[in-house]
């Protein structure tokens, strides 16, 4: 992909983000933070590439540490969000 296509994706995604986030109900702002936290760990993709690549041992180890850190976030972030969301209940009548 060339720089302009990437930039286009980025700019459009910013707009999508803007409208999607305004539609989030304020009661769910804490789960919003924890889930955005979990998804921003998609940076694990970069970590995996570094960890899998040959050619530089130090790069590989940095990648492995990053994989572990991002995994904490992915598993922890989604799990804690699910735990919170399960608590939001309607009045039982």
């Amino acid at each position: 992909m060339d720089f302009i296509s990437i930039l286009s994706i980025f700019v459009l995604a910013c707009f999508v983000g803007y409208y999607v986030v305004w539609s989030v109900t304020p009661a769910l702002h804490t789960p919003l933070m924890s889930v955005t936290n979990a998804i921003s760990s998609v940076i694990v993709v970069g970590a995996l590439i570094a960890a899998a690549a040959a050619g530089s041992a130090s790069s590989k180890w940095l990648g492995l540490v990053a994989v572990a850190l991002a995994s904490v976030n992915i598993f922890g972030g989604f799990a804690v969000t699910a735990r919170m969301l399960a608590m939001y209940k309607k009045r039982d009548r």
Binding site: N37, A52, D92
Partner: protein, 497 residues
């Protein structure tokens, strides 16, 4: 002679990352309501799984067929690499799951800060890995001269993206560490003000940007690592002057940064899932910061400049002498039992004393007596956006009894009892009347319009984060309930019988 190392990526891989990005958009979209949110979270998990599996399939040397990375094309099955990667995922996953299960809901702000710091650190590490092995990321050009060893040149655009990604990641990391220490109570919530801090901070930021520009000309290690080092330093420096009560803004801002860091890395890696996610998270954090600032009637710049909530005490001595009405748990129970409607206003104090479960019990007793009970939440109540809502949800308070400021403010005038527990500044009528007050103009809950205000507070001495006395304490229709929030509520429950 030039050898272009940018490897063509198969179309299905691009599509997979795109689908993963769409899943993340839908995950956030689901949060528009509690019912759809659970499905949204599952979509987020699916999106992440797609991204991780796609990367593993295309980059790990499985030894099956041809790997898209030339160096590993048709490589033998590399057990050690696969084992190490799976081991890293396993270790991280177990730590994450155990933490998520054990964490107290009141500690959620600290946990989110800690998670932000991990994203920041991961971004720095990925940036460093990409710097050390640019060919693996397809962002370098190898120049092989006729004589001498070949030179690997990182593409100039990639250098800027990498520099920005590492800088934002490092700021996110060190800033989040400070935010965590402040929220967790390991570090005083009071702002720490260094002399000349604005000059130091601005100078450091300019230096970082200058070095990133210089990095395009010279890819020497010192440039790269100085960028990282200065960014770690500026992260610490930016957050230490910010007081504990401004943490809702700080934590939202760091949320935003962690997104921009992921987006910058996405640019480096040409990965659409990372770019989409980064943009989503970046705008999410920015919007939350904006909402928090608006709820405090403060500009983003003044929060970032820090120092708010530092000056206290001066007014306290005078304040203690003013007459106020003090009530007991029995008085409170009697007043609320007689009421048609009670509105509960929770604040950070409720979180500190873990009073939410006792509060729910009190509300249940009142409802059994035929009293209507509602909850009013100010946007900045607590230490992070939505903090109070989560705590009430934890105590099984139905979410349709919980109202936002603008939806419930007009109801106080027709309410018999406003029960303020652990909130202070967000109820201060001075915000509406006293132009000299530091919180003037901040939207507040009109609790003083209720027939009676019951105000649960540890003692008369302390003031809210803004360091201003609350006019409400001395009103005729206010009764102060001076005790630990949880103990007081438990006593009221007992008195309700």
């Amino acid at each position: 002679m030039h050898t272009d190392l940018i490897v063509a990526v198969p179309a299905w891989v691009l599509l997979a990352y795109l689908i993963s990005g769409v899943c993340f958009i839908l995950a956030l979209r689901g949060l528009s309501g509690p019912e759809s949110s659970r499905r949204g979270n599952r979509l987020g998990i699916i999106g992440m799984t797609i991204a991780v599996v796609t990367t593993l399939v295309t980059h790990v040397p499985w030894g099956i067929g041809e790997s898209p990375l030339r160096e590993q094309g048709g490589a033998v099955f590399d057990w050690s690499t696969i084992g190490l990667i799976l081991g890293a995922i396993l270790i991280g996953g177990v730590i994450g799951l155990v933490t998520a299960r054990k964490i107290q809901m009141t500690a959620m702000p600290q946990l989110v800060a800690a998670f932000h710091s991990l994203v920041g650190m991961a971004a720095v590490l990925v940036g460093a890995a990409a710097y050390l092995n640019p060919e693996a990321f397809g962002i370098a050009v190898r120049i092989t001269p006729i004589y001498g060893p070949s030179i690997i040149n990182i593409l100039p655009v990639s250098r800027i993206e990498m520099g920005l990604g590492v800088a934002i990641g490092a700021i996110t990391f060190s800033g989040s560490v400070i935010a965590f220490l402040k929220l967790n109570g390991n570090m005083s919530g009071k702002p720490i003000l260094l002399p000349l801090r604005h000059v130091i901070n601005l100078g450091t930021l300019v230096a970082i940007l200058g070095l990133i520009a210089y990095f395009t000309q010279d890819q020497a290690p010192w440039v790269f690592f100085t960028i990282a080092g200065l960014s770690f330093a500026i992260g610490f420096l930016l957050i230490i002057p910010i007081g504990g009560a401004d943490m809702p803004v700080v934590i939202s801002m760091l949320n935003s940064y962690s997104g921009w860091a992921a987006a910058a890395m996405g640019f480096t890696l040409h990965n659409s899932a990372m770019i989409i996610t980064g943009a989503l998270v970046g705008s999410s954090g920015a919007i939350l910061s904006y909402i928090m600032c608006r709820a405090m009637n403060r500009s983003f710049i003044s929060v970032i400049a820090g120092g708010f909530g530092g000056a206290t005490s001066s007014g306290d001595a005078a304040a203690i002498d003013r007459p106020f009405k003090r009530g007991s748990a029995e008085d409170a129970a009697f007043l609320m039992k007689q009421a048609d409607q009670v509105i509960i206003v929770p604040g950070y104090g409720m979180a500190v004393s873990q009073a939410q479960h006792a509060l729910k019990e009190m509300a249940d007793r009142l409802k059994a007596e035929g009293v209507r009970v509602k909850y009013a939440i100010h946007p900045v109540a607590g230490r992070m956006p939505g903090h109070m809502n989560v705590l009430l949800a934890e105590a099984n308070v139905p979410y349709d009894e919980v109202f936002e400021l603008e939806d419930i403010n007009s109801e106080f005038a027709q309410t018999d009892v406003a029960f303020v527990i652990g909130a202070n500044d967000v109820t201060n009528p001075a915000a509406k009347t006293d132009k000299g007050s530091p919180i003037y103009g901040m939207p507040v809950l009109d609790v003083e319009k209720a027939r009676t205000v019951l105000f649960v507070k540890r003692s008369m001495g302390g003031v809210g984060y803004a360091g201003v006395d609350n006019e409400l304490f001395y009103r005729d229709n206010t009764m102060m309930l001076l005790a630990d929030a949880k103990k007081m509520v438990e006593e009221i429950v007992k008195a309700l019988g």
